[in-house]
Symmetry: D2
Subunit: 349 residues, 4 copies
């Protein structure tokens, strides 16, 4: 951490801030320039609130020179983290696709969709059992029954499964059914929940909050890892901006930024990221082209009858066509989707 | 809800969407203009996902003409809600000030601060016992012990007290100590928590999320009210924007907007809204001038030694001077702070 | 335009607003529902300021049902606009790439770069002669001399050229040298300039402002088209958000959104959209995958010595490698770059 | 400027970056810590593009320790700038109010409004003659004729006058009529225009762009001052955020931030900052309470018939009532509006 003093800072002010930093247990080094003095704090400053220094007399600015996260940082862990679940590797050469309905509605629905997405090349079945809804008056999910149906449909089709957990107290129960625990965007900074999934034995899919910076997303991952669970998959799903023609603005640049700052895998959710069916395919292609390690996509056998998010769910045939395009794009950048060695251009819609 | 058809929508498309809406249980009325047809849906559409209609063939746009919240809306409850706790009324003529440290640290600290803020005219003592911290490596609060100290210091100084609850499972325990349950900005859409505080017997101070629209804040209030607790106090505490010279951008216009849309009281938190001590007073004054029903302000007896947020905490004498300015401003707009009938201009710094 | 009355609006209020709208020259139709009355305004409301109606007594909300632009709207012009300049078609099957330095610095520099980018498959040479710089103390461009060098280098390599014009008074002069007139992001709502390029005979590359909505971008295009110039190419180059790890957030979803709302071609500028060299390639790939009609990319023969924006300029070999990846991605979605019929995977880095 | 090297940066990388900086004409000082080396660049780095250093091998981050502006910075000019025009002082003890219609429409309109606002205590008459309109189909202003009417109405009522200039070529003509030249939000980074008003002899009212940071606003002021005109008045008028219940989010915190960073006066425009009449008064009060040096407010004698922005214009009696409230608030914080020594509380509505 670096403290930049004001040009007219007095010697006494420099001494006082030096004393204060030393009392906090850090060494400090003064660099006296022609115009101003710059103080460098030596030691692990990750627990130091820089704003406590900014308000001192004579201080112009306080700058952090190290990231506030360690375990999630590529600086401390150079190699890509690859998360292995059964035969699936997330963060490796393959771009892994999770797909399924917004919410599990009944056995027939989830079974049909599972079969469909497995056939098209998905490796993971998604489906909500506990739904965070902005309105208290809308469908809230089937609960544990939904998890059972999800797990069963996944197993029958050779898929892994992922579902959201919204409360710390339910992490144990949800873990019994799913292969990956999802923490939703609205809970990205629900710290008690982060600690609970940090104690779980299952990998965690951590969604970026609607107004979270990438640094905060990595800090949230740090909570999970520091509690004991290193298997965190990050997920971009759109941020809030002033644009109104889209529900959110999907931050595709999060792919290369996260890859540079962290060793953790990052996937994209173009369904929530756009909120509209006709934009899911272009944004899914964009995410893969930008380097996403995976995608999570809403697919429904009858979107027009879906109990939630039907408007952003793909039809089965749309999903299958998209998968063929994605295979080509992955191949163009030296990756692959599924076991195919070479994409088949004749299958592209 | 209104469905605007495309200019070239066919009669069949209009029929199909009409059928779909009727099947969902609503009446529908077609208004055939020269250029295009507009369909009006009649009935309570608060549970209807408008995006399910937007994706239909021939539809140009779907517009909501009623707000998605009812119990929090002024349209359904014209008179201002006034929340009475002991002798304090929130939402009435008086602008109520809550003040205290970011976190309860020890008995001496909270007692001293309680005495200080009571003397200056505060009516509520704030103090965190469970702290949501972005870094897992920083001070997380004293827990229940902190709540005991907070309550005791408040009682000794004739103050009410407020503290944050972060988990549904702790609502009962926290309710035993505090007069007002605070739901933090990061938990504004933690729906299980909203339902728990909705069952509590204590009023709820609900903070606006960093990227929440005012509509979403009112929807979150709707969760609490619809579960059974009508005593919700809204709180503006800064939103995310591109500006970097301030930590957040405090949305002062939330005061008049909420007053127009809802009957619930709204207060402002200039400490979190700005993040810097020297901006707390101007923004506190601005909030009151814009019509805030109250303020919540961080005050510490020794900000430079505070375990958290010291940089945004006022010194006792700063708080006392601010209160005198605020009394004048409240008076200028026909309200009051404390029992004084007329402000004393000679006390203004 | 639709006027939604408040639930408790009186008959007199409804009459008064009806009279007001009629006086403005529109027909109006009242739809009296169980709970509230909705008034539909019939006629061309593009010149009507809806806020003048919002403030009337008894009005709950005013909703626009048609876009405020016409000439730029797909609703009024279903077929894609294809802009033909020489043998190049922008908006057609081919994804057209413009490349070159941020600023023209001298003859050797621009000649070398022109040769390099032409060889790699670019069709247009970019290069600034008048630079809008946020600091008054930095390099401001070579002016007309720069345009001469740009044109000459382009011609020698069979390329078109594009350069920015910052003032209405210079449109004539700049038009003599360039094939495409660029209007920069900071001038997207410089209306006198929009009118001047509207009178020019050359196509216009119109960049989206940093905080402009897509609707405003299309309104700016409307200015140009309505003045007489239908050849407008839109360009996404990043918007302002709260994220700080990137300079701007490139809104990749602008590609499918513009394609749906407008018939005009849209291209992407990943150099300004990201501000950092190592993010240019992933975002260029993402834009093409999402449906961009073209790209404009900064390439410099010696980026480390560039007088401006060197940090976001690609090295020649990086640009060549990127072009090969882009050819594959274009092919994956049924488009092409350059005259190649089929990409050559062995050329991909 | 400070260059933070990566933890694993090699000695050769440190040498190479050191050489590069020296070649650019700066001294450099290396601070070798336990974990990493930090390089300090000595000299005036305002012309140095830090991104050119960020992309070098081994560099983790580049941090600016001085502001990129000088002439606008309080660090280089400690005392508040007070701009004197006739008997009016902007930036001093008095809070100066400018008021008038969005656009000058005809002689009767501007004369009536001038008389009204003068009587209520305004010192400056505002009125547009050249209007920047987002739609090419709406009223664009009376041009020079409007300026004549504006000047005449101002003179007859003892007021100064201000109007917007949109093109460099018109600065001379507009200067003949107005006392203050306004540069609109959309032109905040129209650099040719900034240079022209920098050469003018009249003070400049510079509005913050919709997505401009405060730093960029101060950089724009730097353009004007460095060209020769030190009399710049800054103006906050709302920024773009995700909130949709207001047209823009008025950044009230810009008042204290600008006061800290710069010596220039800052005023607020609550009419454009909110876009709705019923929010103008609360936000005007908030701005004054937060320390604004002035206000610019739209007032119209018949807002419902205004040719532009009628919905955000105050009625004459609303403006008069607001002025009485503002006098009280100014007094509460040790300032004044008009020549009154003490506000008269009985006048407050």
């Amino acid at each position: 951490m670096i403290i930049v003093m004001q040009e007219d800072a007095t010697e006494i002010q420099i001494q006082m801030i030096t004393e204060k930093v030393k009392k906090l247990g850090y060494d400090i080094h003064a660099d006296r320039g022609v115009n101003r003095t710059v103080l460098g704090i030596i030691g692990d400053t990750s627990q130091l609130d820089m704003r406590n220094l900014e308000v001192e007399e004579g201080v112009a600015e306080v700058l952090r020179v190290t990231e506030p996260y360690k375990l999630a940082s590529r600086a401390f862990h150079h190699k890509d983290t690859i998360i292995r679940i059964g035969s699936v590797e997330i963060g490796g050469e393959e771009v892994v696709v999770a797909a399924g309905p917004c919410a599990v509605e009944n056995e027939e629905q989830i079974s049909q969709i599972a079969e469909t997405v497995a056939k098209a090349g998905a490796k993971v079945l998604r489906g909500g059992a506990f739904k965070p809804r902005t309105s208290p008056y809308t469908f809230q999910g089937l609960g544990e029954k939904g998890l059972k149906l999800l797990q069963s449909a996944a197993r029958q089709n050779g898929l892994l499964c992922v579902s959201e957990v919204m409360e710390g107290g339910l992490v144990g129960m949800v873990s019994e059914y799913v292969d990956i625990l999802q923490v939703g965007a609205r809970n990205m900074q629900n710290f008690p929940l982060l600690k609970e999934v940090g104690k779980a034995k299952k990998p965690v899919l951590l969604k970026r909050g609607l107004s979270a910076t990438i640094e905060e997303l990595l800090m949230a991952a740090e909570y999970v890892i520091s509690t004991g669970n290193p298997n965190v998959i990050l997920c971009e799903r759109g941020i809030r901006t002033f644009e109104t023609y889209t529900r959110n603005t999907m931050d595709i640049s999060a792919m290369p930024v996260v890859k540079k700052r962290s060793h953790l895998p990052i996937i994209a959710d173009p369904s929530h990221g756009t909120g509209k069916r006709d934009m899911v395919a272009p944004m899914a292609r964009a995410a893969v082209a930008a380097g996403a390690d995976g995608l999570i996509i809403e697919v429904h056998n009858q979107p027009e009858k879906a109990l939630s998010d039907g408007s952003q769910s793909l039809y089965p045939n749309q999903f299958a066509a998209l998968m063929e395009e994605l295979k080509m794009i992955a191949w163009a950048i030296g990756r692959k989707i599924g076991s195919v060695d070479k994409p088949n251009p004749t299958l592209i819609a």
